[in-house]
Amino acid sequence: MGSSRWDAEDWRRSSAAIAGKSTADVFASRGMKPELNPFGLALRESRDSDANPASTAIVVGLDVTGSMGMIADALARNGLGTMVEEILARKPVSDPHIMACGIGDAYCDRAPLQVTQFEADIRIADQLKMIWLEKGGGGNSHEGYHLPWYFAAAHTSIDCFEKRGKKGYLFTVGDEEPPEELPATHIERVFGETVHRDFSTRELLTMASRTYNIFHIIVEEGSYARSHMHRVVDKWTDLLGQNVLRLADHTRLAEVVVSAIEVSEGRDRDSVARSWKGDASRVVSRAISSLPALVSGKSGVMRF
């Protein structure tokens, strides 16, 4: 998928069509759409094409439990357009192919993971709006943020890495802690495949990191994060180090994603933060403050 180009006019029409509608009207699914169900799914592909000759796979996994549906809502109204158009304008990577995921809780939700195709055009907005905002989540302290990691590692095939050795980007977004493990029973239930043992979240991270640069964005407005901020930040930082970004305003998710990609691709962190106007600049500056000021080249010897 991802064989045509983004058209800003398509996006304006799509965005205008949902202006004034409620979240429930925009996200009208009342159950998981079969086309977004990862159960039994072999591969999602991000392929180079004439329209996108040097594609870059970007996965954005959104927590859709409880009140976190507000993230998907903001993305569908404005954020997605900002994300794609700013990547195309700033060119930190070439030819973005975006896949959106809805993340739930594998312990109790009916749709712990929903996955769109990789798309380069307005179809990603259409598929984003097909995600069921289940608003589940259990009484535990985590959601299935590792499910997109497993899916990306085991069920995506991306030309940016396979043809050019360039990793894709994978962002998860939510307000809770990372889970400790992914039991084999959950893999069977969510993905429909048998594995011989449970996997720790660290192991899944290792697996997904082979082909993706992994980030987690903590939504500070979320109720769980607000009441357990230190714990959430510490848990994620122990796992991902500097690739943990703190998002103070969920409507600025797109700017933070684009900025994190820019810094990872070697642009100066402070210049990137200053490149946004007004409130966005403040939110981005804070979010990417964990990233190194300047990422050195990724070839040769990396020193610590």
């Binding site: 095939s157 890495f161 082979r210 990396m302």
Partner: protein
């Protein structure tokens, strides 16, 4: 000889190959340069290309002088070094590889590692790591010694521009990268099996010794096709003791090491175990592992093991590999000949 070169012949010598024109002795090279300059000086030479030839000769001579001054003159499979103390060393080599930290010169019975002065700290780390290897008993020594560098190194010296270490190498040991290239980038799964067995066995030893190599790959691992043996000769400047803060890593390790270890900048066995799996995937033709199943590059059990993350214990990994993965993949063990010699790889 020099006088007989035509303008076209001289201009065809690439600037990076001054040895095709000049000798590797400073005084002789200077004499040769003076003769050529006299012949091709535009004031005295009527050839329409005299200007270009004169400039090109000068460039080649400058490169010659630089290399002789740096102690890194190379000609016809021979790298000549002049150490800071004035001693001269020569490394005969059949293959030269640029590596992350410098370059590697592969000879028949030795392999040389040349790290630029900017990586002097890395060479110092290799020297610290390669002082002695601990063994529980003679049996362990007998099993593992051949899979590790022979100590002490056969040569260590410093030039104005580089730090050099030379390790001995059995003549039948071939760099895995070169073997892989010889076979067009993909090995038969049965050969990958014995190579990974050897590498996993080595990680068990490293775990016992409290060492993490941090750079196991086809660029550092050598194999003997005849004996189905392996030896980890390269990349020791990345090695650390378990739990130590990381010093440096090659790009490949950054790609495949557990992210949480990179985030915490800490040395752990899991890195070597992940690198062995990555090596297995690469030997089968796809380091990502994504295409292996589609292309049926190996039995399913082997592909699944190579794609899944490593556990945290080398002995467990080795046990599962030997008792489950190899058994499920190939059944009873048997020796599969790999008909490949030093000359097949290095004289082709």
């Amino acid at each position: 000889m020099i006088a007989r070169h035509t303008a076209a012949q001289l201009l065809a010598i690439p600037p990076q190959f001054p040895e095709r024109l000049f000798s590797g002795e400073a005084s002789t090279a200077e004499l040769e340069y003076r003769r050529l300059a006299a012949l091709w000086h535009p004031d005295r030479c009527g050839d329409p290309q005299a200007n270009a030839v004169f400039a090109h000769i000068r460039k080649l001579y400058e490169e010659t002088r630089n290399r002789l001054a740096n102690g890194t003159w190379e000609a016809f499979g021979m790298r000549r070094f002049t150490a800071k103390d004035g001693r001269r060393y020569e490394i005969r080599h059949v293959r030269r590889h640029e590596i992350d930290a410098g370059e590697m010169l592969i000879g028949r019975t030795a392999v040389g590692f040349v790290l630029p002065a900017s990586n002097a700290d890395l060479m110092a780390q290799a020297q610290r790591m390669l002082t002695r290897f601990p063994y529980a008993d003679e049996r362990m020594r007998g099993q593992m010694e051949a899979a590790l560098p022979s100590l002490p190194p056969v040569g260590q010296f410093e030039t104005a521009a580089a730090r050099v270490m030379v390790l001995s190498k059995p003549a039948d040991m071939l760099l895995l990268r070169d073997v892989l290239a010889h076979y067009g980038g993909r090995l038969d799964a049965r050969h990958v099996a014995w190579i990974i067995s050897g590498a996993l066995n080595l990680t068990c030893y490293l775990q016992y010794a409290g060492l993490v190599h941090n750079a196991i790959s086809p660029d550092t691992y050598f194999i003997s096709p005849r004996r189905h043996a392996g030896a980890l000769l390269g990349g020791w400047w990345y090695a650390c003791r378990t739990g130590q803060r990381l010093l440096a890593l090659p790009a490949r390790t950054v790609q495949y090491a557990p992210s949480d270890l990179l985030a915490r900048k800490v040395t752990d066995f899991r890195t070597d175990l992940e690198l062995v799996r990555a090596m297995g995937r690469e030997l089968l033709g796809d380091v990502t592992g994504l295409r292996l199943a589609r292309e049926k590059a190996a039995p399913e059990a082997m592909i699944q093991w190579l794609r899944l993350p490593a556990s945290a214990d080398a002995v467990d990994e080795y046990r599962v590999w030997q008792r489950q993965v190899l058994q499920d993949s190939f059944g009873a063990r048997r020796f599969v000949e790999m008909a490949l010699s030093h000359s097949d790889v290095y004289q082709s």
